[in-house]
């Protein structure tokens, strides 16, 4: 089951990967630019993203407000720029957690092989069959709505994807001559694992992490959108789409459009970049 589920992602990835070098450069530029924006966004925002101004609410794009204002008169451009930080911080932590857990699990099970590997594999299969959005939402129920509850939950939910990607490479590396030489030289398994195996699986980790970042960003924004993640009035893209939802009824599309487009462009950029990196990393093709 898990294999087939992941295979669906693989096919998409192959398609993206087949697009070649221009796609690599373009996606790297867009993803990089967005990442820079996430860091400096709050500083270059022309207005205070939380400052309301009832007199100029619900305006279209103008010279004063390049992307218009929302129903509370807040500058949409400023909220989009400031919101980039939380929108990126969420998936960044999710990817970090899943990378640490997934890589450790993969290297550990590949190292020991046999029944350890089989048990780990079965455990991963069960984890694959857990719907991520449900776990994130329940985590908010237990730990309270906010940034951390969904982020921690999604970090765990994304772990099997990372573990599966790393495991195949780790098993291959495990049987390379250098590992045996180091063992014969008396080096401890921990040291070999940390100093030699881990660096050699790095390329696939980076590729999978990049790919997962896009999906994680969409999932995190979804939880914020339904009101269990980042809490308004804090600016975040999912929160903005949610704020834009009520403005739609008055025919004001800007806020939904701006935040929605940012999410879609970011997901595409990271998906394509991740696929490109994964073909170049010597992992699964």
């Amino acid at each position: 089951m898990a294999v087939t589920l992941a295979a669906v992602g693989d096919v998409t990835r192959r398609r993206f990967a087949a697009m070649g070098r221009p796609a690599l450069v373009a996606s790297a530029v867009v993803a990089g630019a967005l990442a820079v924006l996430a860091i400096i966004g709050p500083w270059i925002a022309p207005y205070d993203p939380d400052a309301t101004d009832v007199l100029s609410s619900g305006q279209g794009p103008s010279a004063r407000h390049l992307l218009g204002t929302d129903s509370l008169g807040r500058d949409i451009l400023s909220r989009a720029l400031a919101g980039a930080r939380l929108s990126f911080a969420g998936p960044a932590v999710i990817v970090l957690i899943s990378t640490v857990l997934g890589t450790a699990l993969a290297i550990f099970s590949a190292w020991h092989g046999g029944w350890v590997d089989r048990m780990a594999n079965r455990f991963l299969n069960v984890m694959f069959s857990v719907p991520g959005i449900l776990v994130a939402v329940l985590s908010s129920a237990v730990f309270g709505a906010g940034f951390w509850a969904p982020v921690l939950a999604l970090g765990v939910v994304y772990t099997p994807y990372m573990a599966r990607a790393v495991r195949s490479v780790a098993i291959r590396e495990r049987h390379q001559g250098y590992v045996e030489s180091l063992q014969l030289a008396g080096m401890s398994s921990w040291r070999i694992g940390f100093r030699h195996l881990a660096p050699n699986v790095m390329p696939i980790v980076v590729a999978q992490g990049t790919y997962g970042f896009g999906t994680a960003l969409a999932d995190f924004a979804a939880v914020s959108f339904i009101g269990l993640g980042v809490q308004p009035p804090q600016a975040e893209w999912g929160v903005m789409v949610s704020d834009g939802r009520s403005e739609l009824l008055d025919g004001a599309l800007q806020q939904s459009l701006v935040a929605g487009t940012l999410i879609v462009v970011t997901v595409i950029a990271f998906n394509v970049l991740g696929a490109q990196l994964s073909t170049r990393s010597g992992g699964r093709r």
């Binding site: 237990v142 959108f225 997901v267």
Partner: protein
């Protein structure tokens, strides 16, 4: 030599039975484990059910009695066992906010959610397989379908939902902006935009997989030979290519349906549809944990059921899967 064929037949049948049994046992174990995790998680969540049910003015005696009745002071495993045996009999306890039976709250909403999922699943299968075949057969179609799919996968349902509401409900006025409707036709009308929003991502996945499977199959020798011998391309497609490409397509469609069930949690919220997804979010916000526990468990069960059925179909149809046991 004479004996080998029947024996192989027998072991293969044994293999099938064993795969069936282990798959079903695995599904039951997954559901039980999930129920334990959900129950444990929510029993440590903040909130006091007694205060919620009785309000702030209740006497200490009334509180103590209710605690006793709800079994709140029993050991954890005893409470879990009590809840589990109740759940197996269709009794999920009482809602802390509406004081109704949880089962009575869920019943009608489950029907709404299933209708939504059924409509979305229909769209996913029709669009996914239709686009997938177009993308898998010709080079020109492939480029267009690839672009559509790349976009479709990247558009989250809640972003798509806003765009659909903005265009088709507010600007054009073709569909209602929210609500679940009364009567069958009205319901379908209300659930159309939500179903479309829900199906975009999974439709893209299914068409991606279909086009890859069809393309892979079209390059195989037997298909090339058939075409070379002058068999009309429509017949080659229907009788050979599609028949052999069906397995991955079936799997992807099944997984998509499983995903749709979880996806209703987000989409029902957007369109204010009174299904179990919206009920889950509402109950989380109001700390109505008996409802949260029941709805999450139902979603997990449906999810595991669907994935298990796909597994079993795979084992039944594909002899290579049987060998894996």
């Amino acid at each position: 030599m004479k004996n080998s064929a029947p024996r192989r037949e027998a072991t293969s049948r044994n293999g099938t039975v064993r795969r069936f049994v282990t798959t079903i046992l695995g599904a039951v174990a997954t559901i039980l484990a999930a129920s334990l995790v959900i129950f444990a998680g929510l029993s440590v969540a903040p909130g006091d059910p007694v205060a919620q049910l009785l309000g702030a003015k209740a006497t200490d005696q009334a509180r103590a009695n209710l605690r006793q009745d709800l079994g709140l002071d029993d050991p954890f495993l005893e409470r879990y066992w009590h809840w589990l045996t109740g759940a197996l009999h269709g009794d999920f306890g009482v809602s802390l906010t509406s004081r109704q039976d949880v089962t009575a709250l869920i019943g009608p909403r489950l029907a709404t959610t299933f209708l939504l999922v059924a409509m979305a699943a229909l769209l996913v299968v029709l669009l996914g397989i239709g686009l997938g075949v177009i993308g898998g057969v010709g080079a020109r179609g492939r480029a267009v379908v690839s672009a559509l799919v790349g976009l479709g996968i990247a558009v989250p349902s809640f972003v798509a939902a806003n765009a659909l509401i903005g265009v088709f409900a507010v600007k054009l006025g073709w569909f209602p902006t929210y609500g679940s409707g009364d009567g069958f036709a009205d319901r379908i009308w209300h659930l159309t935009l939500p179903a479309v929003a829900l199906s975009i991502g999974y439709g893209a996945y299914v068409s991606q997989l279909t086009s890859a499977a069809v393309a892979e199959e079209s390059e195989k020798e037997y298909v090339v030979t058939a075409r070379g011998r002058g068999v009309p391309s429509g017949i080659v497609l229907r009788h050979h290519t599609l028949r052999n490409a069906i397995m991955p397509v079936l799997t992807a469609s099944g997984l998509a349906v499983a995903g749709l069930v979880a996806g209703t949690v987000v989409v029902e919220q957007i369109f204010a549809i009174d299904g179990i997804g919206a009920l889950l979010i509402r109950s989380i916000t109001s700390k109505d944990y008996p409802v949260v526990t029941a709805v999450s468990l139902i979603i997990v069960i449906v999810f595991v059921l669907v994935t298990t059925v796909i597994d079993l179909i795979q084992v039944a149809l594909d002899p290579r899967e049987r060998a894996k046991s």
